[in-house]
C-alpha cells in the first residue's frame, strides 16, 4: 500500500469511509460517508495494527504546516510563574510539549494541584516564586481566563529558579533549592529532572 507523495489540500477526498479510518489532518463526513483532508500536505496510509479488530487502514495528511501549539488537557507544558497568591499561582505557558507557543497562554496552578500528598497543607509561597520556570501538566481547559495546571507528580514542578542574589539555584531536595552564591536555601516544589 505505497501510495506516497500525493499532495492534498483541505476538502479533497482521501477515500471512502468504508475503506479507511480518518487519521491526523483528515475528517470523516457522516453525510457523504467520505473522508476528506482538513490540512495541506501529503496523503499517507498507515496499515492497521495486526491485532486491531478494525482492519481498515488509517489515511492521514502528513508533512503539513501545523498551526501553532495549543495546550490541551494532558499535555506537558513549560510555564513561567508570574504571580503567587495564597491559594494559587498564575503562570504563562511558553512551551507545549517540545514546541514553543507564538503567544503566551495563561495558566493557573491551584493550591490543591501543587503536590500529590498533604494537599491541604500546601503553602503557595513556599512552592513557587514569580520568575520560576515550572514543568506542569494541563489538567483541564479551565475557565474563561486560564488553563488549570498541575505539578502533582515527581517529575513536575520548578525546573529552574533564580535566587534573591541572582544565582541559578541548585535543587537539594524535592522541597528545597540552594543558591550557589550565598548558600541560602529557598523552598520550592522542585521537579525531579532527568530521572
Amino acid at each position: 500500500m505505497e501510495v506516497e507523495k500525493e499532495l492534498v489540500t483541505p476538502g479533497e477526498v482521501l477515500g471512502l469511509g468504508s475503506d479507511f479510518k480518518a487519521g491526523k489532518g483528515a475528517y470523516f463526513s457522516p453525510d457523504t460517508k467520505t473522508i476528506y483532508a482538513s490540512l495541506t500536505g501529503f496523503r499517507s496510509i498507515i496499515p492497521p495494527p495486526i491485532d486491531a479488530t478494525d482492519q481498515r487502514p488509517t489515511v492521514e495528511v502528513s508533512g503539513h504546516k501545523a498551526h501553532g501549539a495549543v495546550p490541551e488537557p494532558g499535555s506537558i507544558v513549560i510555564a513561567r510563574v508570574t504571580k503567587v497568591m495564597a491559594r494559587m499561582a498564575s503562570a504563562d505557558i511558553m512551551c507545549v510539549g517540545s514546541k514553543s507557543v507564538r503567544e503566551k497562554f495563561t495558566g493557573i496552578i491551584r493550591q490543591q494541584d501543587v503536590r500529590a500528598t498533604e494537599i491541604d497543607k500546601v503553602e503557595m509561597h513556599a512552592s513557587f516564586r514569580p520568575g520560576d520556570i515550572v514543568r506542569a501538566l494541563v489538567l483541564s481547559l479551565g475557565d474563561a481566563r486560564a488553563y488549570y495546571l498541575s505539578t502533582a507528580k515527581n517529575e513536575l514542578g520548578v525546573v529552574s529558579a533564580e535566587s534573591a542574589a541572582g544565582g541559578e539555584m541548585v535543587p537539594i531536595s524535592w522541597t528545597e533549592m540552594q543558591c550557589p552564591l550565598t548558600g541560602q536555601v529557598e523552598q520550592r516544589k522542585v521537579a525531579k529532572v532527568g530521572a
Binding site: 489540500t9 483541505p10 501553532g68 507564538r102 481547559l141 474563561a144
Partner: protein, 258 residues
C-alpha cells in the same frame, strides 16, 4: 445621461425626474452587444493571482489580486481568547476587514463596507473545524489595498487560503464569487464600475469539494429562473476558483521535489 434623456422622450414616467433616475452610461444598455470595459465576456472572471505565506509574522497569510482588487489577509493564532470572552468548548473565529485610505477613489471608507467583517465571519465559520482548537481564538485580518469591485468575494477566498496556510483545520476551502445583474445580462466578477450600475447583486461562497453553500446574499429584484442561472454560474466559477486555490496551496510544497 444626456443621451438617455434624448432617446426616450415619451415614457410613461410621471415626471422627468424619475425618467432621469434610470441614467446609465451608454455601454450599459439592455442589449447584449456592449463590451465590458476590460474586454471580458459576461461569464468570464478576471485573471486571479494568488500567493500564500506573504506575511512573515503571521501564522498564515495570503495575497490575492483579481484585476484591480488587491487584498491581503493575515491569520493569527490559535491564541488565547480575550479575557472578557466567555468560556467556550470550541474555538472562536474573529474577523476584521479594513480598507486602506487609498483603496477607493474617494478618501475614507464607504459605509457599505461596515458589515464586511460579519459577512466574512459568516462565510468562513462553517468551513472551520472549530473543535480542533478549544477555548482559543483565530484572528483573521483582511486589508483591502485596492478596491476594484467584487471586494467581498475576493476577501473571502483569500481568507480561506490564509487559514489553510496557517494550518487551521478546515472542512474545505471557501471560494466566493459574485455576479451583477445589469439589464438582462448577468455579469460575473463585476468591477467597481459595473457594481455602481448594477440592478441586483448575487454573492455566493461555497465549499467546492463538499458542494455546500456557506453564505449567500442577494440584493435587488430577481426572478426565480434568474436566481437559478446566477447560482449555477457562481457555483461553476467557485469550483474553478477552488482548483486555482488548491494549486496555489500545493505550489510551495511540490516545488522542491523536482
Amino acid at each position: 445621461m444626456a443621451g438617455k434623456r434624448g432617446a426616450t422622450p415619451a415614457t410613461y414616467s410621471p415626471s422627468l425626474t424619475t425618467a432621469k433616475g434610470k441614467k446609465k452610461p451608454p455601454i450599459f444598455t439592455d442589449d447584449a452587444n456592449w463590451v465590458r470595459s476590460d474586454g471580458r465576456h459576461f461569464h468570464q472572471c478576471r485573471p486571479a493571482f494568488l500567493r500564500i505565506a506573504t506575511v512573515n509574522s503571521a501564522s498564515g497569510s495570503a495575497y490575492a489580486e483579481f484585476g484591480n482588487t488587491k487584498v491581503i489577509v493575515s491569520v493569527f493564532g490559535p491564541r488565547e481568547s480575550k479575557k472578557a470572552m466567555m468560556y467556550s468548548d470550541v474555538g472562536r473565529l474573529n474577523c476584521n476587514v479594513s480598507y486602506t485610505t487609498f483603496a477607493t477613489p474617494s478618501r475614507g471608507q464607504g459605509s457599505d463596507n461596515k458589515d464586511f467583517s460579519s459577512m466574512l465571519h459568516k462565510a468562513l465559520e462553517g468551513a472551520i473545524i472549530l473543535e480542533s482548537f478549544p477555548k482559543t481564538t483565530v484572528d483573521v485580518f483582511a486589508l483591502v489595498l485596492e478596491s476594484g469591485g467584487s471586494d467581498l468575494p475576493v476577501i473571502i477566498s483569500c481568507a480561506s487560503l490564509a487559514l489553510a496556510d496557517a494550518g487551521i483545520m478546515l472542512y474545505d476551502l471557501v471560494a466566493a464569487v459574485s455576479v451583477s445583474c445589469l439589464g438582462k445580462n448577468l455579469v460575473i466578477d463585476p468591477i467597481s464600475e459595473e457594481e455602481v450600475y448594477q440592478e441586483g447583486s448575487f454573492m455566493i461562497s461555497c465549499m467546492p469539494s463538499r458542494n455546500e453553500v456557506t453564505q449567500l446574499t442577494v440584493t435587488g429584484e430577481w426572478s426565480t429562473p434568474k436566481i437559478s442561472e446566477a447560482m449555477d454560474l457562481c457555483l461553476d466559477a467557485c469550483s474553478k476558483l477552488g482548483n486555482i486555490m488548491r494549486s496555489c496551496l500545493k505550489e510551495p510544497l511540490s516545488a522542491p521535489e523536482e
